[in-house]
Amino acid sequence: MRQDARSLLERLEQQALAYYDFTDRVSEIEMWPIFETLLRDPRIVGTRSAAAREVEQVGVSVIAAPASVPPPAEAPASLFRTYEQEVSAPEPVRIRPQEPKLRDFITRIGRSDDA
């Protein structure tokens, strides 16, 4: 427990309570298979969405912070446009297995999420 939370609870004589700090869940998100299933579904993301196309690609995963911070609602498509540009770049930074790519996508969005 954080020391300031502990001190406050002691002053309030509520030592039976505990303070839990919820960390940024986006960085810890578990890639449940249903997440990937839904993010491939055109009824969710559309057929012309770059996000839907990207999930189908087999290739490298480039770990890089986006140059700009897009609005969260547009984040999937705009980040994937950035990703596609990097895929065509001369040298990828790192090669990862396909399964964690969705985790990277979610993590990158989390870094750019202003909320």
Partner: protein, 234 residues
């Protein structure tokens, strides 16, 4: 009339709860609000502290309309079967904000009313089945392209792993289309069992504070208030 549809393709996610509580919240802010129960379940009134045997006037009959927590309540299931229901809503409720509670199985009514609505609110819960039901929100338009639909994630519990993960996913996927979240609070069901409004049964309910923020967001989305230059945390 400002028409707000409240409907989810998944039943049991809190659609009626949200229709009731948002109408109560806006009425408490001085708005002229009417809530129409278009479900055969007839449970909207329960969230206002009314009993199961309390009849509501059929929509369109203006005598002895029940008013609870500042909201006019009518039963619209029968009236909604008729093709001219949307026009009747506009005619009879011209100066009011009208929340229409639509059951999950009634996609036809939703599709019929949507062109007349200022907003559709779609409730989901942080469960795999509710996530899967997102594929059924609209037959023609992908979820992330819906322009008149806002989502509310209801019954969140970030202490639970899957619930927290789904919360993070929805927040990321929906962006501004996520109107807000409401924490899971047993006090909601307790209030129903006590046949009392939530605010009367549990004034310190976590869900109530979430609903206030949700009402703030709804008013901004409907253009009833202007967004502050710098939002302050409550």
């Amino acid at each position: 009339m400002t028409l707000v549809l409240v409907r989810s393709p998944k039943g049991g996610v809190g659609t009626t709860f949200l229709a009731a509580r948002l109408s109560i919240a806006l009425a408490a802010r001085g708005r002229d609000v009417h809530a129409v129960d278009c479900t055969s379940q007839d449970s909207l009134k329960l969230f206002f502290g009314l009993g199961t045997r309390q009849p509501l006037q059929p929509f369109g009959e203006t005598d002895a309309v029940v008013v609870a927590s500042g909201v006019r309540l009518t039963q619209g299931h029968e009236a909604s079967r008729h093709a001219g229901f949307a026009d009747r809503l506009a005619t009879l409720l011209s100066d009011q904000i009208c929340f229409v509670d639509i059951s999950a199985s009634d996609a036809e009514l939703r599709d019929r009313l949507l062109p007349h609505a200022a907003l559709e609110i779609c409730a989901i819960t942080p469960t795999p089945i509710a996530l899967a039901a997102l594929t059924k929100v609209d037959a023609d338009t992908p979820v992330i392209e819906l322009e008149h639909t806002a989502f509310v994630l209801n019954q969140t519990d970030d202490r639970r792993r899957l619930s927290g993960d789904i919360h993070a996913l929805i927040r990321t996927l929906m962006g501004d289309a996520l109107l807000g979240t409401v924490r899971r609070d047993e006090a909601v069901n307790e209030a129903l069992a006590a046949v009392k409004p939530l605010a009367a049964h549990a004034p310190t309910s976590a869900a109530l504070s979430d609903l206030e923020r949700l009402a703030d967001a709804l008013e901004r989305r409907l253009g009833l208030v202007h967004a502050p230059a710098a939002s302050a945390a409550r």
